[in-house]
Symmetry: C2
Subunit: 203 residues, 2 copies
């Protein structure tokens, strides 16, 4: 099963992903992204990212090696297709933590993936915060509502909305989503049918 | 949110429901069924069932008071519509524990309910048990496979398949399904949009 964790920039996708990798529930494989940006101190190639040159990355794109990719501030970021396919073939769940733009590319290619939209707590607290306002000028409120509207519009392309109010709570919600999705009839019915066909053949 | 727990007879729906009602997770209301069968020793009207006469039950049917109903061994069993609607209107989850036939009636009327099919552990253990067979004659195996085929066919009309291998495990799976379903985008998007519309109007 392919699990796509995405959401607006600044929502804390990376922090939630790291907490998932450090947590007890580890019944999934994380797909390391590829980038052309400079390695920062402490980052490890193949752990934080696959660090590649622009030419290497563009070669991957040209040869169909990327599941999704996008450019941000002059650098490429993307998901190598090979690791995802190999891991899914082994029957393991794969977790992607990617930008909204990339998530929509994956949605087209893998419609039966589980798409989780991480939403900022601001969004759910919007009403109450605005009710108790007075400290913020109209322009600030205006821009905040505009931003919220954009975020809600993005949410519509996802299966689940998880509020990132506290990292450990967001992680627990995601883990439960993964566990429940594994019980969805369209995901299990073929296994039951296969079992039955085999039993019938044996008989 | 309407939660429908169903499955083949003898799978242990009642036991799982009782364990849910006795458990810690109680963020739902159980809809007591109505029946015309005799009250058994220890059963309480309004707790185990609403015990009604045949005439009373048929009056409910005639006046559109039943969400679903069916006859078994000469008795009526069904779900009164009023309690379900009142509880949903209060914003609470409602749990129904009903027969497969009734569940399909509810599916037609409430397509956005969560339909959980409780499956016997035999079904998932079928292959391995048949592999290690030798103790069972062909007729037994035949009938077992036929029964499994019927059960799988029923499963296709549900959202989730939960194996009732151990009651506490089945209960935990169902609780996680309920929690995850509450995070589904189609269930939350209107709330977010409403919040936004209100914020915009205030502004």
């Amino acid at each position: 099963m392919l699990i796509v964790l995405s959401g607006p920039s600044g929502v804390g996708k990376g922090t939630v992903r790291q907490a998932m990798l450090a947590g007890n529930y580890r019944d999934f494989q994380y797909s390391v992204s590829m980038t052309t940006r400079q390695k920062r101190p402490g980052e490890v190639d193949g752990v934080d990212y696959y660090f590649r040159t622009k030419e290497e990355f563009e070669h991957e794109i040209a040869t169909g090696g990327m599941l999704e990719y996008a450019q941000y501030v002059g650098n490429y970021y993307g998901t190598p297709l090979k690791y995802v396919n190999q891991t899914l073939d082994r029957g393991k769940d794969v977790l992607l933590e990617i930008e909204v733009k990339g998530a929509m590319q994956v949605r087209e290619k893998c419609p039966d993936g589980v798409f989780i939209f991480l939403t900022p707590p601001d969004l759910s607290a919007l009403r109450s915060r605005l009710a108790g306002r007075g400290t913020e000028d109209e322009a600030t409120i205006d821009s905040r509502i505009k931003k919220a509207a954009t975020e809600i519009a993005m949410m519509e392309n996802y299966d689940y909305a998880v509020v990132n109010d506290k990292v450990n709570l967001a992680v627990r919600r995601i883990e439960r989503i993964i566990e429940s999705e594994h019980l969805r009839v369209p995901r299990v019915i073929d296994r039951y049918k296969g079992m039955l066909a085999k039993a019938d053949a044996v008989n």
